[in-house]
């Protein structure tokens, strides 16, 4: 009971949820995400039967996924607004940017990323009379597209090295930190706090969720193991540091901590989690496996829900990082 009351207080303070909305929130989120996941899987397998495993399948599966995801906008009679409409335009732009970036026409993808980088902060300024959160969310959208161009300065042979991954993530984190410092963001709002439950339980929740997600993702992707040298200890240390810090913390801070927290000021809370998860899923098109996109959406929903339930980034970061560790640790075994 005590934890429930604390959770209610946090959600009231951070996200403006009253007790009725708080009880309804998981139900709405579960309904919307189940419909999207179910419909996307059905359409994916139907397309697979029609066109086979080609690039057209990836394109049309992703397009169907986004279309159904946008139809969820009208769930529970929600009418939306100009801002919400523009946020869904961000999703459409991301879809085409990722589709092009991961094709032979990758320059078009980069061009769309440059467009988003410059245009969305401008949109935020033009709509700033609608509130500070509107400006911040569109600036963050620009920042999300910036993550797509940070690898550009590096020569191609360096990008093939495993060492480039931490460097690129450090650049992304640098941009996030610079932005958070520049806008004087309250660290509590973006998930840097002790949370509503004790730290060991947050970590336990993250590890449990991560273990399940990693196992499911291994089944979806069947990736090859990451091998950076002959020493097993080096491999394990590299895997843990890279997945937990560089991938887990950076991505969860950007998507859950920043985007979800500020988008939740602009639309119903379940929809903020849904929108961020859509965006997060589209950034997985590079795997060229439509099932991975659907999986990433589900994982995004879980991470967003963990943030709301625990009030801290700890659980989502641990779940994301540990999930990736399980994914690659299981790879050589299975």
């Amino acid at each position: 009971m005590g934890h429930h009351r604390l959770t209610l207080q946090f959600n009231r303070l951070a996200f403006g949820l009253d007790s009725v909305a708080f009880r309804r929130f998981p139900v709405d989120l579960a309904l919307a995400s189940s419909v999207l996941v179910g419909a996307s899987l059905v359409s994916h397998f139907a397309l697979l039967a029609l066109v086979g495993y080609t690039y057209e399948l990836i394109f049309f599966s992703s397009l169907t996924f986004v279309t159904i995801g946008m139809l969820m906008l009208f769930f529970r009679g929600f009418r939306g607004s100009l801002v919400v409409g523009l946020l869904y335009f961000v999703v459409i732009l991301t879809l085409f940017e990722e589709i092009f970036l991961n094709s032979a026409l990758s320059w078009y993808g980069l061009a769309l990323a440059f467009f988003g980088l410059v245009a969305f902060p401008l949109v935020g300024v033009l709509l700033s009379s609608r509130g500070e959160s509107v400006r911040v969310v569109f600036e963050l959208c620009g920042l999300v597209f910036a993550t797509r161009i940070v690898f550009s300065p590096f020569p191609i042979h360096l990008l093939e090295s495993a060492a480039s991954l931490p460097v690129i993530y450090t650049l992304i984190m640098g941009a996030i930190v610079l932005y958070a410092w520049f806008r004087k963001m309250p660290l509590g709002k973006i998930g840097f706090n002790k949370g509503l439950i004790r730290l060991p339980f947050q970590i336990l929740a993250g590890v449990s969720v991560g273990a399940v997600l990693g196992s499911v993702e291994e089944f979806v992707l069947r990736p090859k193991p990451i091998i950076i040298g002959s020493s097993m200890i080096s491999n394990i240390v590299y895997l843990v540091v890279t997945m937990m810090v560089f991938v887990g913390l950076t991505e969860e801070l950007l998507f859950c901590g920043l985007l979800q927290s500020y988008t939740a000021d602009l639309m119903p809370k379940w929809q903020a989690v849904h929108w961020v998860s859509l965006l997060f899923a589209l950034f997985h098109i590079g795997w060229l496996n439509p099932l991975e996109v659907v999986f990433a959406y589900g994982a995004g929903i879980v991470f967003g829900f963990l943030l709301l339930r625990t009030g801290s980034l700890t659980a989502p970061v641990v779940a994301h990082g540990f999930g990736n560790i399980v994914l690659y640790a299981l790879a050589p075994v299975l």
Binding site: Y53, T54, Y55, I58, F59, N102, S103, A104, L105, S106, W107, L110, A111, L117, V118, P121, L122, V125, R135, T147, I149, F151, S152, P153, F154, P155, I156, E160, S161, A162, A163, L165, P166, Y169, T170, L171, I172, G174, V177, L178, W181, K184, M185, L187, L221, P223, I228, Y238, V241, T242, F246, T250, F283, H284, I285, G286, W287, L288, A296, A331
Partner: protein, 143 residues
């Protein structure tokens, strides 16, 4: 601890761990690794041209048969070069905008001032990337 110090500490940890990881990564090995927020840039899924054992990119890409004649590595290399040019031009453009919209030149419209603030973090990132581009160009010439 103040928020600014916490953010600075996070960056210090990142730089330290990035250096440490670079020492560990003694040879190229981007095997199937999901990078940059989930997208494989140069992983096997993109450049290896197979997904689940089936040729994907070798057949058609967005309706064209570009890959029949051009390798994906070359496509990515070309995109990177064009991306570097775009970074340089946009960085210079935003710097010029920041200079021209400086309030010390006189009173400006609210939108122009707000845009100056909104583009500042992106300008800083682009200038940093521009510095990387210059450094790698010099390295390529000297090396």
């Amino acid at each position: 601890m103040s928020p600014a110090r916490i953010l600075l500490l996070i960056m210090a940890v990142y730089v330290g761990l990035a250096s440490f990881s670079s020492l560990l990564a003694v040879r190229p090995a981007f095997y199937g690794l999901s990078t940059i927020l989930g997208t494989t840039i140069l992983g096997t899924t993109v450049l290896g041209t197979t997904v689940l054992g089936t040729t994907v990119l070798g057949t058609t890409v967005l309706g064209s048969t570009l890959l029949g004649t051009t390798s994906l590595i070359q496509v990515y290399a070309d995109a990177l070069v064009t991306g570097q040019l775009a970074i340089s031009l946009i960085a210079i453009g935003t710097l010029i905008y920041l200079e021209l919209s400086d309030p010390s030149y006189g009173k400006t419209r609210r939108v122009i001032e707000e845009l100056r603030e909104s583009w500042l973090p992106i300008s800083a990132l682009l200038v940093l990337l521009f510095a990387f581009i210059v450094a790698f160009k010099i390295w390529a010439i000297i090396g």
